[in-house]
């Protein structure tokens, strides 16, 4: 087993691509270290991405935000402009584990780990975020929802790493929210997660929306029917009920130690309504 901490993306890609055995990129390491300890992975090479300046930087680009692949959640929560533009993304990042875990864990890591219950993924999907993937064949941008391909499986090819996550520019009167259900107040894996992004017109009518659910299927679910149910509304009860019904209908969950099919299906609708209301109020400038 080798450990490398390259200082450029090119060097990282070259190391990852050149390793004939199993190579693991190390961003926050909050999943990788656990897997190493339990023996679930035994890589031949670990490539630490945190010495690469672009990987640990938050930059504003073309009206949006580019978050380096190894930016810890804690850094995001210290960026006031990011928090103002994408409160839902930031609250999802804030829910990734404890304060200690937030000191390490990154959006890109959360995405690549591809847990069905990842907190930041529904929020990123609702935000129409893209992942910039670099590899031996150059770089490509991919919609966030196309990165996870199954339970702990992603669509990255040999030698590829996520260099950054891009959050697009926000139209006026836009905001987002993320809520998850857990049994405790902290430290649990989401039983259901829901990200909602909303844009309003001047009259407070929803003109655009995106709704994404986590932990209710193998991969994140984009609920187009849910978005349609609230577009054109001011989130009146009927629209919210239709949103909830659409979200519940979109669930393909399992029974496991964290929740039942019935529970997840119900709560997905409940969270969608609540998240939509929060996003709406934020977009309308009622709350931060």
């Amino acid at each position: 087993m080798r450990f490398e901490a390259p200082e450029t993306v090119e060097a990282a890609v070259s190391l990852m691509a050149g390793e004939p055995g199993n190579a693991q990129a190390l961003a926050g390491g909050t999943d990788l270290l656990v897997q190493l300890k339990t023996g679930r992975v035994s890589p031949d090479l670990i490539v630490d991405l945190k010495r690469i300046p672009s990987m640990v930087a938050i930059t504003q680009e073309d009206g949006g935000f580019r978050l380096g692949g190894a930016v810890p959640a804690a850094d995001m929560l210290e960026d006031d402009a990011l928090k103002a533009a994408w409160p839902g993304i930031c609250e999802a990042a804030h829910l990734v584990g404890s304060t200690q875990v937030m000191g390490r864990a990154s959006l890109a890591g959360n995405l690549c780990t591809s847990s069905p219950a990842a907190d930041t993924v529904p929020a990123m999907v609702a935000a129409s975020a893209t992942a910039r993937i670099v590899g031996p064949d150059g770089s490509r941008d991919l919609a966030v929802e196309d990165v996870p391909s199954g339970v702990q499986k992603n669509s990255l090819k040999k030698g590829e790493v996520v260099e950054s996550i891009y959050l697009p520019p926000r139209p006026a009167r836009s905001s987002d929210a993320y809520l998850r259900f857990i049994p405790r107040t902290e430290m649990d894996i989401a039983v259901v997660g829901c990200g909602v992004s909303i844009t309003l017109d001047e009259g407070g009518i929803v003109t655009d929306a995106k709704v994404a659910l986590g932990a209710v299927a193998i991969t994140v679910q984009v609920v187009e029917a849910g978005a349609k149910a609230i577009i054109g509304s001011k989130l009146e009860d009927a629209a919210l009920d239709a949103l909830a019904a659409a979200c519940s209908a979109a669930c393909k969950p399992i029974n496991d130690k964290r929740g039942t099919i019935e529970f997840r299906t119900d709560v997905a609708g409940v969270l969608a309504k609540r998240a939509a209301k929060i996003a709406y109020d934020r977009a309308a400038g009622v709350t931060a």
Partner: protein, 740 residues
């Protein structure tokens, strides 16, 4: 437990007892210097790793250790064949530590290896190949108790291994007299003590047959005696030193790894360190029983309880000993009832062997009985506090488990609850308020301590009960009180097994009571010696000397006119007046004094998700006498929060395959700081006549009421009666939906 009035401790005025000094081990613990189980290293030490089965029930066909033994850096491999054949009662404990041909639970140890590094030991463990023949298993208590259930192990005919019955009167007759009867069934899932420090030890067993063990335990004398029996050694050959202990709550009252470390060390000729990982702690160390309980209670319309009956089925793993008897004894202990019967049924299941957990077996029984009582109050339209005040056990009540109570504090806690601002506070919209009582027996037990007066007037105190939560401070306070000297002059240590007589484990809320009693007796003996030295100095009879305020005084004018001799002076002169001055005490302490508490809980259920938030919580309990009130409050708060965790989210979840699904703090959900409000406490002091300062154990009782108190508050908030613990969100939401 009869209470004989030995001590008039109602009027005593204390100087040190009842104050809140900084604990003697405090500095070490806030600076990281304190050494816990895993913090010890020895020269030449190697590392042990245990191989565990992933089957709930299987026959071990073959264990191939050859590849592990061939690995460079591996010093020893052991299986059950490396332990002496067992002939006594320790066989169950050894069986749990190392399987004897048959795996009885997921996580059961089948082999162990010791190597020169942790990484090598893990690698070697993975090279040990075990061939199994998988057998049918059962993990659920009700399933296991059914006729025709898979048998938990070979060679038994039923999974039901014992039945215990307690009570008095005639319950059948009692129920015919009842005007209202409540009959309900309840279940609770198994929980784990959840101490943050995994089990750890370093063991050395040389070719001379002499062994040393360093380990985190609630009872190092227990470790010594158990290991000696298992390894076929004499107790004198094994010296056990108790490290600082990172929580136990009953879970460190047995051995899991020490015999294996000894066997590895014997073979390797090196000190061997074993530290369990968290997953193994959950899989293979002592959880509680899971339970299924039927309750029937009958009352007159005026609220007089006339009969109570409980049938309690507990599974405590594959070896029996679910201590369901404690549950049956404790079930109705809070009530004065003419007709009462409790039957405890001990059921085997393919799970790890239960270990004690804070008031072992009582929380489940109390959940069932207190919940039924709260339902009875609703049926009668009676206030649950008034109902309890009408029916509570008092001095002179014949308890449900036999003895007649002496001075007890249950009624006082109920009166205090009624007067408490929490009880009368307006309940915010959407919230519910619950109430429940709890009981624990408290223990005394075998105890030794030794107290040495140093020449500079300070005191060295040796106790043999590991300090699990600040007991050294209380020991110093009691010694200082008895000697009449400042707290700061006494330093207490937990002595190793070679330095002190036998001590039972720190459990059953016995330490402040029993070890405290031994310390006071030791101090009193030292006082006698000090008085003798003064008498000798003054050339008067020893009976003419009395001890007060830390000095020897002539007892009255007839004794002579001498200036008092302080402890400092007597200590300084001890070399020339007869040598060192000390006191010691060896007792089997009796008169522990039962303990009662009443809890008030406010909770709010999110009716759309079933999630419960505890919004306010108050613990009221009789402490007898609070030696160090901070740590008494700490016991109340910690116990209550463990109970809240049990009530809401903690549970062992087994899959269809009999494997534990949630062996980690991620999915075994103990309460985190943000889950809780402040936990208010009120200490009542109804002195225990069995202790010179009036102490009652306080640690166990606080975990008993919360399950029912939380359930009652949930009912108040969402209207649903939850009769299955934990009351996790999916269950509560399902109940709400079923009702609507």
């Amino acid at each position: 437990m009869p209470l004989d009035a030995q001590h008039d401790n109602h009027t005593r005025e204390f100087k040190v007892v009842g104050t809140r000094p900084v604990r003697p081990d405090g500095l070490d613990k806030v600076t990281g210097r304190a050494r816990y189980g895993a913090d010890m290293s020895l020269p030449g030490m190697i590392f042990g790793e245990i191989v565990r089965a992933n089957h709930a029930h299987a026959k071990i066909v073959k264990i191939d250790t050859s590849a592990a033994e061939a690995l460079s850096g591996v010093h020893a491999v052991v299986t059950r064949a490396d332990f002496p054949a067992q002939s006594d009662g320790m066989v169950d404990i050894l069986d749990h530590c190392m399987a004897d041909g048959e795996v009885l639970y997921d996580g059961h140890a089948v082999a162990a290896v010791a190597a020169s590094s942790k990484a090598l030991a893990r690698k070697a463990a993975a090279l040990i190949k075990v061939e199994y023949e998988v057998l049918p298993h059962v993990t659920d208590v009700d399933e296991a108790a059914k006729p025709g259930a898979p048998l938990v192990k070979q060679g038994i005919e039923s999974n039901i291994v014992a039945t215990h019955e307690f009570g008095h009167g005639d319950v059948e007759k009692g129920f015919t007299e009842a005007e209202v009867i409540v009959e309900r069934s309840y279940t609770t899932e198994a929980t784990h003590q959840g101490y943050i420090e995994p089990h750890a030890c370093v063991a050395t067993l040389g070719g001379d047959g002499v062994a040393d063990i360093w380990c985190c335990t609630q009872g190092h004398f227990m470790v010594r005696n158990t290991c000696a029996a298992i390894m076929g050694m004499n107790a004198s050959q094994i010296r056990v030193t108790a490290s600082e202990i990172g929580g136990g709550f009953g879970g460190k009252t047995t051995v899991y790894i020490e015999p294996t470390a000894l066997a590895l060390s014997k073979k390797a000729g090196r000190p061997v360190k074993i530290v369990m990982n968290r997953e193994d702690v959950f899989r293979a160390s002592g959880p509680t029983a899971s339970s299924s309980i039927d309750i029937k209670i009958g009352a007159k319309k005026d609220g007089t309880l006339v009969a109570g009956q409980a049938t309690l089925r507990y599974q405590g793993g594959a070896w029996g000993g679910s201590i369901v008897d404690f549950g049956a004894m404790a079930a109705f202990a809070c009530y004065d009832m003419p007709n009462v019967k409790a039957v405890g049924i001990d059921v085997l299941a393919n799970r790890p062997k239960l270990a004690a957990y804070r008031a072992p077996s009582a929380p489940m029984a109390a959940f069932a009985v207190e919940s039924a009582v709260n339902e009875m109050c609703d049926e009668l339209g009676m206030d649950p506090l008034d109902f309890r005040l009408k029916n509570c056990a008092r001095a002179g009540t014949k308890s449900s488990y036999g003895p007649t109570y002496g001075e007890i504090g249950l009624e006082a806690t109920l009166e205090a609850a009624k007067a408490h601002p929490h009880w009368s506070a307006p309940l915010p919209e959407g919230q519910g308020r619950g109430i429940a009582c709890g009981f624990w027996f408290n223990f005394g037990g075998q105890t030794s301590s030794s107290l040495n007066i140093n020449e500079d007037g300070t005191v060295g105190l040796s106790v043999g009960t590991p300090d699990i939560g600040g007991s050294r401070a209380a020991m110093c306070q009691m010694a200082a009180e008895a000697l009449g000297i400042p707290y700061e002059k006494v330093r207490a240590i937990v002595a190793d097994t070679a330095s002190l007589g036998y001590n039972d484990v720190t459990d059953g809320s016995r330490t402040t009571f029993a070890s405290g009693l031994a310390v006071i007796n030791s101090a009193n003996q030292a006082v006698e010696r000090l008085c003798e030295r003064a008498a000798q100095t003054w050339d008067i009879p020893a009976e003419a000397v009395e001890w007060k305020d830390g000095a020897a005084h002539p007892a009255g004018a007839n004794a002579g006119n001498f200036e008092p001799l302080s402890l400092d002076e007597l200590a300084a002169n001890s070399g020339s007046t007869g040598g060192p001055i000390s006191g010691h005490c060896e007792i089997n302490a009796d008169g522990a004094g039962v303990s009662f508490g009443t809890h008030i809980c406010d909770a709010e259920v999110d009716k759309e998700t079933g999630r419960t938030t505890i919004t306010r919580y108050t613990v009221i309990q009789d402490a007898g006498k609070a030696i160090h009130p901070d740590y008494v409050e700490g016991q109340f708060q910690g116990g209550a929060v463990q109970g809240i965790g049990w009530a809401l989210n903690e549970e062992y979840i087994y899959g269809e395959d009999g494997r534990l699904q949630n062996a980690g703090f991620l999915d075994y959900r103990i309460p985190v700081a943000s889950d809780l409000p402040m936990i208010d406490t009120q200490i009542l002091e109804i002195p225990n006549p069995g202790h010179p300062y009036g102490v009652r154990g306080v640690g166990e009782t606080p975990i008993v009421p919360p399950l029912a108190a939380v359930a009652h508050a949930i009912t108040g908030s969402c209207g649903q009666r939850m009769r299955a613990i934990p009351m996790s969100p999916p269950k509560v939401l399902a109940a709400i939906k079923a009702a609507s």
